[in-house]
Symmetry: none
Subunit: 245 residues, 2 copies
Amino acid sequence: MTTPLHRTVAAELRRRIRSGELAIGASLPSEAELCREFSASRGPVRQALATLREEGLISAGQGKRPVVLDAVPAQPFESFLSFTLRAELTGYTPGQRLQEIALRRPEPSVAAALHLEPDTLTVQLLRLRLLDEQPAMLERMTYVEAVGRSLLDADLNAGSIYAYLLARGVDLHAARHTFDAVAADTTDAELLGVPVGAPLLRERRLTTDSSGTPIEWSDDRYRPDVATVTMTNTRSSNAARAAVA
Amino acid sequence: MTTPLHRTVAAELRRRIRSGELAIGASLPSEAELCREFSASRGPVRQALATLREEGLISAGQGKRPVVLDAVPAQPFESFLSFTLRAELTGYTPGQRLQEIALRRPEPSVAAALHLEPDTLTVQLLRLRLLDEQPAMLERMTYVEAVGRSLLDADLNAGSIYAYLLARGVDLHAARHTFDAVAADTTDAELLGVPVGAPLLRERRLTTDSSGTPIEWSDDRYRPDVATVTMTNTRSSNAARAAVA
DNA sequence: GTCAATGACTTGTATATACAAGTCATCAGC
DNA sequence: GCTGATGACTTGTATATACAAGTCATTGAC
């Protein structure tokens, strides 16, 4: 059995919700019916339902059948990490211009953020992100060497680093984002096309694997008249979604 | 059995993590050990662990014991809305100074954000938020009249507006936050104690009820050297949390 | 000393069963 | 017609068991 049963059940239910076969407001089949349909016991079926509940797709309640709440599952993690995905969600065409990639020892503050010894090698990138050909964000990323090495061979003007790393099996698990505002320095000003001192939205991000080991540190600066960061969250589900522009 | 066993187990583990008895980075007891300790079978124990995983407190991985990732469970919706709660989560003492409360017709852009006719009355507040007595954030809030009326009688220097509204049964259901950066205007500069033109983090927020009707529009400006907005999200769970400072 | 295989231990998946607790339509009694 | 009890159905909780699959330290061969 390659894919677990509860994943199969969850995927099939997701498909039905997405296709409208199970419309918003409709009741799901009972657990017993799902058990019969998938020749499963209650365990995997309940596990699948719990997954959909977490994604904000269905409701819960003892004695009541679950009801379809939403047609599109929230994928907060992906949408928070990938500028490319966020841009596409909002209908813009994302682009990028790699300015620099280097193998070097990071500044002490960056080394500390990544929990590295001060003289450890890292892979650092400076990349300008575009929305519809317009400079929108400047990202300064630092990767631990083991992960960053593979980036040296990648085509970094082609697509999403996040998607590239995922495809290579890198275990990206959690991210911590801090937002504040800074005045543009000379590099920011030149690449983003704003005056020195102009206010920029800064997002600093630490990404870790599932054991809590830091993988990536990033300092992203947004030109506020071109790109902003938007997120939506609701009370009932833990779902949250992010977008740019 | 008043409270389910899996909740008891989850609560006890949460307590140990919060108290530092299980420090960040430490491994949890194995499922078998927890079963013995709580005289439970694996079901409830695994259910408790799944809950903590959803809250972003612990990691997962076949064959590996879970590791403590974070000490404070994520409460996304509350923590996104309440500056007071966010401050307390991070150990600061929040404060506020109400500058102005008025019943007036809002600017066209604000009326549009709230889906109101241009000449509709709203309740507007200007309030300075403090962290440890220091100016940290300036909020400009606009409430639809039905909700805002009750704020005219409230003690707005006392506590959280969010908590006050919830207690009065207001159906706060979803919120959309947009982050960008602006230069401080004269009002911002004076109240926050920064030079005119200094970069400020701006959060614009539209809060709606469960039917999608707008309730509140807010323009919050953070002094970036005193307060930032931080959020955490993980891949496996939908947990997200916001904090300041 | 190095390296690979072994094996104990751990989490992930799945089944079968049982009872508690909540929902809801139906039906009897008034 | 209205009300309340009944009972079927449903989800929530819990146990016991079994095997698959991944991790990790120890052991043994070289």
